[in-house]
């Protein structure tokens, strides 16, 4: 039983990483209706920016805020410059664009900061949290930030004019345009917000997985899986999905014989697919009724 509780706790700790990433994935999915494959690389690049700022002697929180603003503007710029011209292109062409963006960011980061692994500081310290060896104060802080972020997003989307406008632009673009919402800029705003949330995720994850250009590869896959499991239409679902995937993964690694580190990912994915076969819209996603 003790082993079980410990593994669940450890799962929640890693789950926080996935939850963070999943939240960013859902944000952009809400705004543009695609999964952005370059999301992880964008987050990685932002994290490197903050690392560079700290190397120049800027304190953690100042670097944090500057990076947030930078990521927000960079997200908008990427949408305006690279993806706005592709609005009329087929969906699959857009996906190819994401892959191209992935390659560009990954390779530039490798050239600027090279591929060696770097330490990244944590603002929360790394002492054991409440006397537990499995969950450190950093991981607890990460869970706290994820929950705060989720609450913030909830209030933004439910209670502000611009949040309402963004939701309108995403769900019924034609009608939204008719009531005077600039849908094209709402999409850009969505990119900016997703990029900023991604950068928070990146800066929180970096102390755990260490900073390097490929740090997001694995995390993003779990982030996608978590978002899909929770339902791509629900930020709350994404966070719950993140924690579930973390716990699944850890329990599978512990209790199923012969599952090493390498098979953890396929098993987690297989489990998610079995859930999806039963609930095709994800656990918390809204089921879309089709009208012919």
């Amino acid at each position: 039983m003790e082993l079980f509780t410990n593994q669940v706790l450890a799962g929640i700790a890693t789950g926080a990483i996935y939850a963070c990433m999943a939240l960013a994935v859902v944000m952009i999915y809400q705004a543009i209706d695609h999964l952005n494959f370059a999301q992880g690389e964008m987050a990685m690049f932002s994290t490197f920016i903050s690392w560079q700022l700290m190397q120049w002697g800027i304190p953690y929180w100042a670097a944090f805020v500057i990076t947030l603003i930078f990521s927000f503007i960079a997200g908008i710029a990427i949408e305006r410059i690279l993806f706005k011209p592709l609005t009329k292109a087929p969906v699959l062409t857009n996906v190819a664009g994401f892959i191209a963006l992935f390659a560009i960011i990954n390779s530039s980061a490798g050239l600027i900061w090279d591929f060696t692994i770097k330490q990244y500081p944590t603002p929360f310290g790394s002492a054991p949290f409440l006397g537990s060896q499995l969950i450190s104060t950093h991981q607890a802080g990460m869970i706290g930030v994820t929950v705060l972020l989720l609450l913030g997003l909830y209030f933004f989307f439910q209670y502000t004019r611009i949040g309402l406008a963004m939701r309108a632009a995403a769900s019924v673009p034609e009608s939204a345009r008719l009531v005077g919402i600039n849908t094209s800029w709402m999409i850009a705003l969505g990119w900016g917000m997703a990029s900023a949330i991604g950068s928070i995720a990146g800066m929180l994850i970096a102390p755990v997985v260490f900073l390097e250009p490929n740090m997001m590869g694995g995390v993003l896959i779990y982030g996608f899986a978590a978002a899909v499991l929770g339902g791509l239409t629900s930020p709350f679902g994404a966070v719950v999905g993140g924690f579930l995937v973390g716990v699944f993964e850890n329990l599978a690694g512990t209790y199923i014989p012969g599952v090493g580190n390498e098979l953890k990912l396929p098993i987690a994915l297989a489990l998610i697919i079995s859930v999806l076969v039963v609930k095709p819209a994800g656990l918390f996603g809204r089921h879309i009724v089709k009208r012919v």
């Binding site: 062409t93 664009g97 994915l269």
Partner: protein, 338 residues
Amino acid sequence: MSAVEEVAEGHQAVEAVPKRAMTLGTGTSLVVLAALLIAPVFVKNFIIFQMTMLLIYGLAVLALNILTGGSGQFSLGQSAFYAVGAYTTAVLMEHFNVNYALTLPVAGVVCFGFGFLFGQPALRLSGVYLALATFALATAMPQLLKLNFLEHWTGGVQGLVVTKPDAPFGLSMSQDMWLYYFTLVVTLAIYIFSVNLLRSRSGRAFMAIRDNEIAASSMGVNVALYKTLAFGVSAAITGIAGSLGAIAVQFVAPDSYTITLAISLFLGMVVGGVGWLPGSFVGAAFIIFVPNMAESISKGLSGAVFGVLLFLVIYLVPHGARQIAIFGQQLAGKLRKN
């Protein structure tokens, strides 16, 4: 998010390509075929090898094109089918001494079964959900091939070495050239099969499902059957491409068949034009040559150069090589009128 989505207005991910627009005219096809037949006589062995790989990847992209462009289903798991085909051939050739040519149909049948079965759970999923499911298959495959109890057959992480076949009947041509012509014959056969498949009753059923699933099922198309059938056919062709690939490269190892391969095949399809079969080979050329080109432009930034080139291509021709072909056709039509 709206809870009701208008299906009739066409929110489909894959655009509707009419079946006549899916192929090349007879004249152009013959010219291309003649070029493919003659070319190896004039070039070095390494280039012949690259042309063989082009045909092989072309087949794999073609398979994805039938699945996505034909039936509207999305797959990131093609590398898994490719791996199964490659391993079937390698194991048959090295452990059972089966002739290489005979392993191709076996690989095709094995992969058809595999794809058909995989299509069953995939039936309930579409769009990004299907992408995730197939993605899971692609990430799992290299790990499954490394499993301990399969090691006796698969060679584990080390993989298997495959013997390159000599030209038969005492023909005096190099192994590379023989393999090229062998691949060309197989490719042609599969290409003709695919064109005819899409023009047949089954092909029309695929396209009806792609354009509007509900309408298709009310017209009497067995949606479940044709969707899984599309998966099966696509997997079979990918598997045959995989076995040819194993023979050409002379080596199979789990890490040659990762998700990167599936992503390349996807890019090949987009660059060639979704739903345009000849474009598959253009796309294959893109995924074989452009990364090399990018590397020769800048070693450190090869990824970035590749990304920029890819962006250029999708800006210029968002519908892939098909767009160029249509443009050329219109131009030719105008010239003929004058």
